[in-house]
Symmetry: D2
Subunit: 135 residues, 4 copies
């Protein structure tokens, strides 16, 4: 399963090079993750309200071509791997008009409680875990 | 009482116009506020840990001259008005090399609890309130 | 004429208070402006490519109620005033589910060239100026 | 050669998890890079004014422990590798009070002209290239 999220580049996302500042791709990945989780019938807000957190422990982003102000972007998000302790997502960022690949990325997350202590996802919320891992 | 906070413009703070994006001045004001509160012998972190919040209800910023990447900036912050329900701060942003005034601003805040419900600052934390208002 | 722009609150837009950080409203206003200008049959990108800039000289924002992660937002944007030297926009930010008003704002801009020197908008691009001011 | 850059965590850098949002580490790395380049007797602003750009083509960040509002941070930056086509930097982010390692990172950059076309750094600016590579 994968989701496709449409974005339009914001002026504030550009930098003096005239292109999107590289830090924004991490934010776009997060928007993709939010959408992907929603597709499983839960919201990430609801997961956090249950006291479950998904802090990053690693981010990788490869920048292939720049995005510019007002460009129409598609972020394609999928689950890469899931275990009781961790989950990783992969991302593709494309220009939706030219279909050009702009960037790819991976984020690795730990399942934790509110105090950022590791938890066993399968044990703590078996239903959600089963949905995500049956993917 | 006023505090002077030194900043260097970050690349990520610039936009495609080649100058600092206007949204960053709100962030610089906040850094000034953090410093000013520290001067009273408390930290804003500690205030929040006591369950007291200072959400904005109004922001005003006048942009006089642009700031650029690597510019050295001074934010001068002072308390404008304080009451049991509210507090306001005023700001001046200058280029620290040329002394040129770049921007001025005012932020208005409400004293609230963790759930953003209004509180009586004088009653809830008399000691801090007395320090801030004797200013 | 006014435009309505739909947004979903990004995780990165929240702060430790659990609500959208106030600096993001300036960015949301900018997204509204981008949409409004597009409605006139031009893009703001195209205006900038013509060497015309619209730097802010004043921003005002009133925060009425907080927005939270994943909230659905509508930014309503309209031109407030236009002259040969300046243009101002006004904004309303609402929760699109509850219709609750979250914030209002005004931004004031100068018409300038690439070097941020003032220009006479009516003289430099009569066609666009006429479209915007006939509004 | 390495540089140590001191930062204080900004309120706006936190998210609803109560910790620094992961996208900010890319911005902190950039501040470290700015400082490191300055140490070589040039500024990154001056390099860009010469028409030389250093866009990222890859970013990697490992998050080890969270940083919080008002935490004092040290970013240690060094050149990892340099060639005529590319340059990479490595980063360590520590809490300056506890000395705890919070994050590490690597950024890979291409030497390009203003239009983001690859250039031969040694040929185009031999003096700067020689300084950076003699490191």
């Amino acid at each position: 399963m994968e989701t496709k999220t449409a974005l339009t580049v914001r002026y504030a996302e550009t930098d003096k090079m005239g292109i999107v500042h590289h830090s924004n791709y991490a934010i776009w990945f997060e928007i993709g993750r939010t959408d992907l989780i929603k597709r499983f019938g839960i919201t990430y807000s609801a997961i956090e309200e249950m006291g479950i957190m998904l802090p990053l422990y690693e981010l990788n982003c490869k920048y292939i071509a720049p995005a510019k102000y007002e460009d129409k972007i598609i972020v394609t998000t999928s689950i890469k791997e899931i275990s009781r302790a961790r989950i990783s997502f992969s991302y593709k960022v494309c220009d939706s008009v030219t279909d050009k690949l702009l960037a790819t990325g991976v984020t690795l997350h730990a399942w934790t409680d509110k105090n950022l202590k590791p938890i066993n996802a399968e044990k703590i919320f078996p239903e959600i875990y089963s949905k995500l891992s049956s993917n």
